[in-house]
Structures are given as C-alpha cells and as structure tokens.
C-alpha cells in the first residue's frame, strides 16, 4: 500500500464517519461542525488528486462561506438547537436493505470496470492546473457558456436571497 492510499483511506473514513454524525447527532450546531469535517476531508481528496485550486476553493467556499451560512441559519431558525424526535421511522429496515443492495450493485459494476484499477498517468512537469482551468473557463471551445451562465445563476440567487431575507419595507 502506498502512502497516498493510506491518506485516501484515512480521509475517506473521516468523510464517512463525519457524514454519519451529521445526520445522527441531535445537536444542530454539532451537525454543522461535522459537516465541516466532511468538507475538509473532501478537500484532502482534491489535494490527493493534484487539484490544488479546487482544494483551496473547497476550503474557502464550503468551509469559509457555506458552513458559516449553515451555522448562521441554524442559529436563526431555532431557539432550542436540539432535536428531540425519533431518529428512525418505520421504513428504516427497507431503506437499509435498498441502500445495501444499491451499494452491492455499484460495487459489482465498478469491480468489473477496468477504470477502477487504472493508475492516473503522472502529470507532465510544468503542468499548472490553475492555468489550464483559467484557459478552459474562458475559451470558446470549452466552458465559456457555462461560465457566463454561472453568473446568471449567481444573479438569480442574489435576487432570491434579497427577496427572501430582505427587510419588510
């Protein structure tokens, strides 16, 4: 086992464990903090994949902005930041079975796919992912349209946020 595999397994365990805690903990702020741990684990995965820009963006946008917004939203909505109700409903057995079957199916499928065992080719020296990304974002034969549409999406989100959270006036 190489060092990268060990790092991958450790961060995968952190991601999955924290994700389970997000849905099972009763304290909402704790859930948000476990979510932060999950997101940080994903950042580590990006780092393993040599996606430096995405690693940092993951931390800046997801931990620095979205997690903060979640915490603000939790503190905004409830006085008692605790959930008292039942955590499982009647269908949990069936749901677990379906989940297990889906996982098994996926496992079988992926096991037969040769992509799963392939090793990524080493990046050519002097390869700079950020430069490639920047070029791809604004070149006409790559992502220029999604890039511009993203700004429309942000505009819609901005207007929506101002409308929903806006002061009554």
């Amino acid at each position: 086992m190489t060092a990268i595999q060990i790092i991958f397994i450790l961060s995968a365990l952190v991601i999955l464990g924290a994700a389970v805690m997000v849905v099972s903990t009763r304290n909402l702020v704790h859930a948000a903090l476990y979510l932060v741990a999950t997101l940080f684990g994903v950042a580590v995965l990006y780092a393993i994949l040599d996606a430096t820009f995405l690693t940092v963006v993951q931390v800046v946008v997801y931990i620095g902005a979205i997690a903060i917004l979640f915490i603000f939203a939790i503190m905004l909505t409830r006085r008692e930041m605790r959930d008292q109700g039942e955590q499982l409903n009647k269908g949990w057995g069936a749901a677990a079975l379906i989940g297990l079957l889906t996982f098994g199916g996926l496992f079988m499928l992926l096991n037969n796919w040769r992509g799963v065992n392939a090793t990524a080719a080493a990046l050519p020296s002097g390869f700079d992912g950020v430069v490639e990304l920047g070029t791809a974002l604004v070149s006409t034969d790559a992502f220029v349209l999604p890039f511009e549409v993203a700004s429309v999406l942000l505009l819609a989100a901005l207007i929506g946020a101002v409308y929903v959270a806006g002061t009554k006036k």
């Binding site: 940092v56 800046v60 931990i63 620095g64 700079d128 950020v130």
Partner: protein, 402 residues
C-alpha cells in the same frame, strides 16, 4: 550548494543524506526532514510571537504616552515571559453549560489557522515552507478557518456576550474578505501568478514594487486586513463597553493565551503579506543577494513596519458603528475594489510589452485618477447629506431660541 550560500537547504540536504546513510528509505528521510523543518518554522513563529507581545505592549504604551513594560530585562524585553508564566499558572475555567469539546477546540483551531499562513511566507529566496501555486487563495482559506474558530468559541461559551461578539466578528470578517480577495487579484493580474514567490520575483529585476503600480490595492488590502484581524477601528467584536471581550470572554489561562498569541501573530503575518505583495518581500535593491539571512532580516523588518502601521491605525482611530462598518464595505470598498480591478486589467492589456517605468507610471496615474474621482464622489455625497440635514438643525436651533 554550499553552507554559506544557502544554509537552510544545505542543512536539509545534509540531514537527508544522514538519514539515508542510516539505511532509512528516501521517503522516510524526506518525511522526517520535512517534520523537522516544520518544527523549526513553528518554533521560530512562536518565538517571534513572544517578541511581538513585547512590541505590542511597548508600542501601545508609547502611543498612549506611557512607558510600557520596563522592569523585567532591558526595556522590559523579558516581560512576555512573565506574561506566559502568569497565563500558565492561571486556572482553566470552563463555564457552566459550555459545549466542552467545541470550547476546547476553538483556541487550537484559531492558532493553527494563523500558523498555517507561515507555510507560504517566503522569508528569503531560498527560505520558505512551500511554494504553492494558489498561495493567495490559500491565505483566504486559512482566514476562513479562523472565522470558523471564532464562531465555535462564541457559540460554545454559553455566554450572550461571546455569541454577540462572534456574530459581529464573523460578519465583519466575511464582508471584508471580498475586497481583500479583489485586492489580492491585482498583484495576480500584474504578475500572472498566484504564487507568492513569483509575485516577489516580479517586483525585483525589471519590475517595480507593486505599491507604485497599485497604490489603491495596497490601501484596500490594508483596510480589509485590519477588518479581518478585528482590530480597531473594526474591533466591534470586543467593544469593551458593550460586550466586554467578545467571543473569547469566557476563556482563561493558556486558552486565552492562544487566542491572544494567534491575534498578534496574525497581525504580524498580515504585515508580512503586505510586504510581500506590495513592497517587494525580501528584496531591497539587491541587498538580499548577499546572503539568504540578510533577505530574511529585510523581510522581517518590512513585516514589522507593516505590523507597526496596523498598530498605528489601531491606537489612533476610534471604533466605528457596525452599520457604518458594513456600509463602508458593501457600498464603498467592494465597488471601489472592483473598479480598480477592471481598470488594472484593461491597462495591463493595453500596456503589455511597454517599458517598466512607462507601465508603472501609467498604472500609478490611473490609480491617482480613480482615487481623486472617489474622493470627489465622497465629497459630493457628504455635501448632499449635510444639505439634507441643515434645515433640520436650523429649526432645532430656532426652537431652542424660542
């Protein structure tokens, strides 16, 4: 590579050779060398931090016409050690109803988020932790971990003041992050790289220090750095008369010490980034070529000057109200920074391939014009505000006469 020309890397290479000589495999040898390097870096940062406690106390004293610490050691330089001993022998109190785990994690995360920045600070041409190609965004990412630590501290303390302080601080930090990133974009555009090493190099041979080419970006970065630090005039998080100490009100002993140490080191580190991004980093007219340690000293002096400016602002300017602070950011600093960004981008394209001094001069003049227009707009705005208020004031005065 000899010991004299590049001591740090020479020692690292020597250690690696020794370790592999012991029969360790190269990966392990590298890892141990890396660990030792990181340890040296952290110890250096913490020692510097102890020194900064003295600097801060001494400088604030002089600003307030006092002597400051002067009993322990010459000029009171050993005062911080006494402070540390005092913090260590204080009782560690966890308030009733606090969320213990989160409460204890917050100061650790706070210090870590600051020490993280030292990974990318180039002290000299050959003395740096790592050369990250997204270093400037990494700076912001470390800051967002700091934001998280503050909200954790504020929420877990089970104290109303702490929560209020955390809200205010986080609102300020996230708001001022926008102009800060835009200000960081300007050296990026001029250099064509986000790596701090490249940015420093671009200000050397055949380039100018970026505060000449981008004076407005320098000022915007300084202002948003002060807000990010939560220092006066943006220190609403610890408005003593309202919410006492803000988010760290409940912390005692070394846990408070970690917040305090983190804050001081953070301020110094931002002084360092100011030096790197706009004042040539470790460069000083070729003097840095003498020896890497000379470069490191130049860098530290520049960073200290940047830190001194931050202190100067802190101890001169009074605190402003939260609506003014957020309004200043959203209605003034953010649009201004975007205008500066677009003008810089356009000019950078137009001036591509010109001589350095032409480039710097045109950029500087453009910044002066933007600054002048901004001031004119502000003046017109405040004049209109005054006009709107004047009749009201007069009528009140008349009413008082009757």
């Amino acid at each position: 590579m000899t010991f004299w020309s590049d001591p740090i890397n020479f020692v690292a290479q020597w250690l690696r050779d020794v370790f592999t000589g012991w029969g360790w495999n190269p990966g392990l040898a590298n890892a141990i060398t890396l660990l030792l390097g990181a340890l040296v870096l952290i110890l250096f940062a913490m020692l510097l931090d102890i020194f900064l406690v003295w600097v801060e106390r001494k400088v604030v004293a002089r600003f307030q016409d006092r002597l400051g610490p002067n009993r322990i050691g010459p000029f009171g330089i050993f005062q911080p050690f006494a402070d540390i001993v005092k913090l260590i022998i204080k009782e560690d109190i966890t308030p009733a109803g606090a969320d213990k785990l989160v409460y204890n994690l917050a100061p650790i995360l706070s210090l870590t988020s600051v020490l993280l920045l030292w990974a990318i600070l180039p002290l000299a041409a050959t003395i740096y932790g790592t050369d990250l190609n997204v270093a400037l965004l990494y700076l912001v990412a470390a800051g967002s971990l700091g934001t998280l630590s503050i909200i954790m501290a504020g929420w877990s303390s089970n104290n109303k003041y702490a929560l209020l302080g955390a809200f205010r601080m986080v609102a300020a930090m996230v708001s001022y992050e926008i102009p800060m990133v835009v200000a960081l974009l300007i050296p990026t555009i001029i250099t064509g790289s986000m790596s701090v090493k490249e940015i420093t190099l671009a200000q050397g041979d055949g380039g100018v220090w970026f505060f000449i080419a981008a004076p407005l970006a320098t000022v915007i970065f300084l202002i948003s750095a002060i807000a990010e630090l939560g220092r006066s005039p943006f220190d609403l998080n610890e408005a003593e008369s309202e919410i006492v100490a803000g988010f760290h009100i409940e912390y005692t002993g070394m846990k408070f010490g970690l917040f305090y140490a983190g804050e001081l080191l953070h301020a110094f580190t931002f002084g360092g980034f100011l030096a790197i991004l706009f004042f040539g980093g470790y460069r000083f007219f070729g003097l840095e070529n003498l020896h890497p340690f000379v470069g490191a000293i130049i860098f530290l002096v520049k960073a200290l000057i940047g830190y001194w400016v931050i202190m100067w602002v802190k101890y001169t300017v009074p605190r402003i109200r939260i609506d003014h602070m957020l309004g200043f950011n959203w209605k003034f600093l953010t649009p201004l920074s975007l205008v500066v960004l677009m003008v810089t981008a356009v000019l950078n394209q137009v001036l591509a391939g010109t001589e350095t001094w032409v480039y710097a001069l045109v950029m500087f003049l453009a910044n002066v014009v933007i600054g002048w227009l901004t001031l004119e707009a502000l003046r017109a705005y405040s004049r209109s505000q005054r006009k709107a208020e004047e009749p009201a004031v007069e009528s009140v005065a008349q009413a008082a006469q009757h």
